[in-house]
């Protein structure tokens, strides 16, 4: 059997097996729908990933920021509510030991003058 005969035999056999192909338009339309769906799915997944990343970053930064805000608030609050204040140098002053006015029981005070001087 020569090559042409083999070829013809095979063509007949394959032709019988190949059958009728489905409509191109139908297969193409189905492919377009599938492509659209996968593109939408890709976008959705991308969107979710971006949202998760933003939330993650926000939550990751939040505790630190919150702590800073709380500290600042506490400092301001304690300053506003305080009724006494001491200068930092007060601790360096010597402790009170005597009253210089203790020995003087009576102070002469007069508005009368004599020879131009107060008595």
């Amino acid at each position: 059997m020569n090559e042409d005969q083999v070829r013809q035999r095979l063509k007949d056999a394959y032709q019988a097996a190949d059958g009728k192909p489905p409509s191109f338009d139908e297969v193409w339309a189905a492919a377009e729908v599938q492509h659209g769906l996968s593109r939408r799915r890709f976008r959705t997944i991308g969107g979710i990933a971006a949202a998760v990343a933003v939330i993650g970053i926000t939550l990751g930064l939040w505790p630190e920021q919150q702590a800073e805000l709380t500290d600042e608030f506490l400092i301001a609050d304690s300053l506003l509510n305080s009724t006494s204040w001491s200068a930092p140098s007060d601790s360096l002053m010597p402790e009170h030991q005597f009253d210089i006015y203790q020995g003087i029981h009576f102070l002469n005070e007069s508005t009368n003058s004599q020879e131009g001087s107060l008595l």
């Binding site: 059997m1 005969q5 083999v6 056999a13 019988a16 190949d18 193409w28 492509h35």
Partner: protein, 177 residues
């Protein structure tokens, strides 16, 4: 050059060009999946999705026919690689149950031809189909199969000899009738 109905992600492919190849491509898809119509249609759809999305990108380095046949071949290969283990288990089970059902193509002389084709190793069968049935050159067929032209030629020659030998009886039988 961009054709008027060129695809967005594949500017060198037009819908019209694909439509012209549709019948031949379906035949190739059928033979990739054991002549199961539904699976072949699914393969075709998947191939078109690959082209639409630009995952399979045609750069005019070969003919569109070679490219599309290659896409179907690769899709079938990856799909059946995954299913292979499962199919092997099913086949083993079916063989235990009873003899495999006779294929629909077993009638008259066609059975002899198919027996001859199916007796060939897979690569020889593929190159025979691509060259004899799908009208490709050995170079194009080798590209689709992912082998060198030299290897393609060897498979082609062996397949041709083997088929001629097996089908010789058929001619004798017919001439006697």
């Amino acid at each position: 050059m961009r054709e008027h109905d060129a695809l967005d992600n594949n500017p060198h492919i037009s819908r019209q060009a694909l439509e012209a190849l549709h019948g031949q491509l379906f035949g190739w898809a059928l033979s990739r999946c054991g002549y199961d119509d539904a699976t072949a249609e699914d393969l075709m759809q998947q191939a078109y999705v690959e082209v639409l999305s630009g995952k399979a990108r045609f750069e005019n380095r070969s003919t569109l026919k070679t490219f599309m046949f290659g896409v179907v071949q690769n899709l079938a290969r990856s799909r059946f690689r995954r299913q292979n283990t499962r199919l092997r288990i099913i086949d083993a089970y079916a063989a235990e149950q009873d003899d495999v059902a006779a294929p629909e193509k077993e009638y008259g002389n066609l059975k002899i031809v198919w027996d001859a084709v199916e007796s060939l190793p897979q690569r020889q069968r593929d190159i025979t189909e691509l060259v004899f049935i799908r009208d490709m050159t050995i170079e194009e067929a080798s590209t689709v199969m992912g082998v060198t032209v030299g290897t393609g030629r060897v498979h082609y020659d062996r397949a041709k000899k083997s088929l001629a030998k097996r089908l010789a009886d058929l001619n004798t039988k017919e001439s006697m009738q």
